[in-house]
Symmetry: C2
Subunit: 90 residues, 2 copies
């Protein structure tokens, strides 16, 4: 078994109105930072996963995203995987 870390970014689909982003945008303007626009707020999830290889780690992460971490109707996601080198015994 190898250990991987996955870094998952979940974003609201473009067609969905992002009310939280709009509120943040208005707050930025109120704070005298007028140059900002199109603020969109999503989630960033980091986790570690044990798997036999990168392919099975990737499919496990995809399963977790589809079943729990994202709402496939409203959200898109992408992720990167990185293998963690095991600590060698001295």
């Amino acid at each position: 078994m190898k250990t991987y870390t996955a870094s998952i970014t979940v974003t609201l689909r473009r067609a969905i109105l992002d009310v939280q982003g709009k509120a943040v945008e208005n707050a930025l303007h109120s704070l005298h930072m007028p140059g900002f626009a199109d603020v969109r707020i999503g989630k960033h999830i980091e986790l570690s996963i044990q798997a036999v290889d990168a392919d099975s780690a990737s499919s496990a992460v995809r399963e977790a995203c589809d079943k729990l971490l994202t709402n496939p109707v409203m959200e898109d996601y992408h992720f990167t995987l990185q293998e963690i080198a095991p600590v060698e015994a001295a």
Copy 2:
């Protein structure tokens, strides 16, 4: 003025207990996905910004992060900037 998009990732500091991440980890285990651990949940913010050059865009994003988007006591952030090419008139 040029237009840039910034992609900001906000993560809870390592020393802070991530209760939301822990709840998600337990939920993954309940869904018969035992291989996951160390789940940490953060924010991902995308926005566009008008600035004269990349340096001033970068400092504006840093100011927005420090003043509004992140809690510097509990959170770390990093971001990437990308210039959006202006649409040429035909």
